[in-house]
Symmetry: C2
């Protein structure tokens, strides 16, 4: 099978998603090159042995819940078929659907959604801007992966437009808030992992066990209305400044596909408490970038970052989340928090890139951005590449429409 070298969806990737074509029901598919493999069709042809009722579903949850032995088994079967140049491949091509002919759906019925705050560069930037440049990190930050519960209902898939949210903001030096459309709509460049295995209330998942609970990853745009957020967030955290939408990429990249790209994370100093210690390489070298495309204009890349910068890794996040006995479910989603790098061109939000409005970004059409304008489309992309092996996430693409 001939997959272009620069395709995100190589034979090493095989991410899972939910698609439909005109007149058909949403069902589970696997991306390969510019095509989708219809898994249920493969089962009906007798080429794959998976309970078909887990595949003919509008969400991946039932399939994921079959466990890693099944989902990895599917990947291995597909890899074998895709490398067989003869009969099997022919069979496979009969169940190929062009991605261009398909509609992609939200892949997961998201149960609880948690967002972390695990990039030290991002937390430091925000702390410098809004608190104390000399003590940018709060005292707890290096001891635990700070996180909060987010809104699951408003998680949408790439391609779904959003409206600029309205809400309460407080004008500078005013004592009374006003109600208006947010003037500071921002993206946050994140990834999220999807929980693939449930734990029981009262149980904790150790760092040794955690990877077994992580099914895969998506790109995540944690939309933020900075003015709404600023006024509302004390003392209980972000609420309406975030809950109007979060966008994810359509294809869930299995954790196993990222195996070749493991790297060591930053040194954690001071040492973490014993329950947060881990062995092995738990970060991943994943290139991330963000583009803004104005209405009718050309896309302009405003950030190039990397998942490997994360101070707290996914294993530590999940372990911390369950250390109090909080249970997780298949379909839970956990965001990384904004992933910023060390340099200005690697910051993961307009808040940081334009440094709270003080450093406008010049766009190719001559306009500038400190936050997003109506009609702007934000595109995030991510991929890992090493020794000729490429595993990508595709993109998450969302247009900001005017407030209703």
């Amino acid at each position: 099978m001939n997959i272009p070298k620069d395709s995100d969806f190589s034979i090493h990737n095989l991410p899972f998603g939910v698609f439909s074509t005109s007149g058909t029901s949403p069902r589970v598919g696997v991306a390969i090159g510019d095509s989708i493999i219809d898994l249920a069709a493969l089962v009906h042809k007798g080429l794959l042995d998976v309970p078909v009722e887990a595949l003919e579903q509008p969400f991946l949850n039932n399939f994921i819940a079959l466990g890693k032995s099944v989902t990895n088994g599917v990947r291995k079967s597909l890899q074998a078929m895709l490398t067989d140049e003869k009969a099997a491949l022919k069979n496979l091509e009969a169940v190929f659907i062009k991605q261009a002919d398909a509609i992609m759906h939200l892949p997961v019925d998201v149960r609880d959604y948690t967002d972390f705050y695990s990039s030290i560069e991002h937390a430091t930037n925000v702390g410098k801007m809004f608190r104390d440049p000399e003590n940018a990190l709060l005292p707890n930050w290096k001891h635990l992966p700070v996180g909060y519960h987010g809104r699951a209902s408003s998680i949408i898939v790439s391609g779904v437009d959003i409206h600029r949210p309205k809400g309460q903001t407080i004008p500078k030096d005013a004592k009374q808030p006003i109600f208006q459309a947010s003037a500071r709509v921002d993206f946050e460049l994140e990834t999220a992992f999807i929980v693939g295995k449930a734990s029981q209330l009262g149980d904790s998942v150790s760092t040794k066990e955690a990877e077994d609970y992580i099914f895969g990853m998506v790109l995540f745009n944690d939309w933020s209305a900075r003015d709404i957020q600023k006024w509302e967030y004390v003392p209980l955290g972000p609420f309406l400044g975030k809950s109007f939408a979060s966008s994810i990429s359509a294809w869930v990249v299995p954790l196993e596909a990222l195996e070749p790209f493991r790297v060591a994370g930053p040194t954690q100093e001071p040492a973490v408490l014993p329950y947060l210690k881990y062995e092995g390489k738990k970060n991943y070298d994943i290139h991330l970038e963000v583009g803004i495309q104005p209405e009718g204009g050309a896309e302009h890349t405003v950030s190039r970052s990397n998942f490997k910068y994360m101070y707290w890794n996914m294993v530590q996040q999940l372990t911390h989340h369950t250390v109090n006995g909080c249970n997780v479910n298949v379909g839970d989603m956990m965001g990384s928090g904004t992933i910023s790098g060390k340099t200005e061109d690697s910051y993961g939000s307009m808040l940081e890139i334009a440094w709270a409005g003080t450093k406008p970004v010049a766009m190719p059409d001559g306009s500038t951005r400190v936050f997003l304008k109506d009609g702007d489309t934000v595109i995030m992309r991510g991929y890992a590449e090493k020794d000729g092996v490429r595993v990508g996430f595709g993109e998450v693409r969302t247009k900001v429409l005017p407030a209703r």
Copy 2:
């Protein structure tokens, strides 16, 4: 039909829940006196016209989603049958199950869970203790119903025990946190409402429309580990200090059953923004109380409060929640926040009752409490009563077991 005067489950109430008996599947029931009416059995007898597949379910969600015309229709049909002393009642008694013979299940598959912070007495108490006694309320508090997203997965029904959670806390004057079982496990006396109608992403629900989206109410114990919460909550809000468990009562009281108990809420000064203005009486006079029963000891009432004290009402909470376009789903749960009254005997948490540990509560067995001890059972009860009409919530009862 003879229902004792002091029963929570009068003919005026008819709350919905999910029950099972030995060897049968969980299904929808209605409480009356000390019995449960098996709704699916009524349908099978031809006495009720409701899609039975919405009743033979482990959660109320599908039934609630049929809409208020159906759920209120069921209540009216049952009221008619229960007041008919002849044939119909006989039929009805054939589908009665003694509550003592039934197991009650979590009534709702909780989708997103939000907790507000809407009691001015509670917010003031907390502000006095931890911030500035002269400026106890933060600047935003009187302008919007402050709230945050909570953890839905760990919501449990009355009768399910919890384990004392473990987590990071920071000893007084220490620079490094330690890991231990929480020493400050607390209850929070709340109610919660359950959303009965979905809204679309991008839409807002006005205060005029909001009651149509509120199916009913439960008692809610928002378990809190104060030491874990204190260390973790800056800047993104409560997380593991809350997510180990939240307990709700088993019977969902429909909003319509609370109609006779409407009262005006406190005056909101300064005036709220136009989108938060409402007409009519939106508070409810519901007596609430909390008892602590030590292992093997007698129950001691530590708080008597009332839902009518709420500064922000449910209509304003739901309207605020959706004003940014955030969508709600059937089965969403929204907690009131701790409901404290003006006097010390009406505070809704041990944090306030024992004033951050400075005023220990004397128990009948000679012990004292500043927070909860292992083996303590916390029992919350609630009821409304007026002109001989009583509508109650039953109880939410949860025992604190030692840390694992």
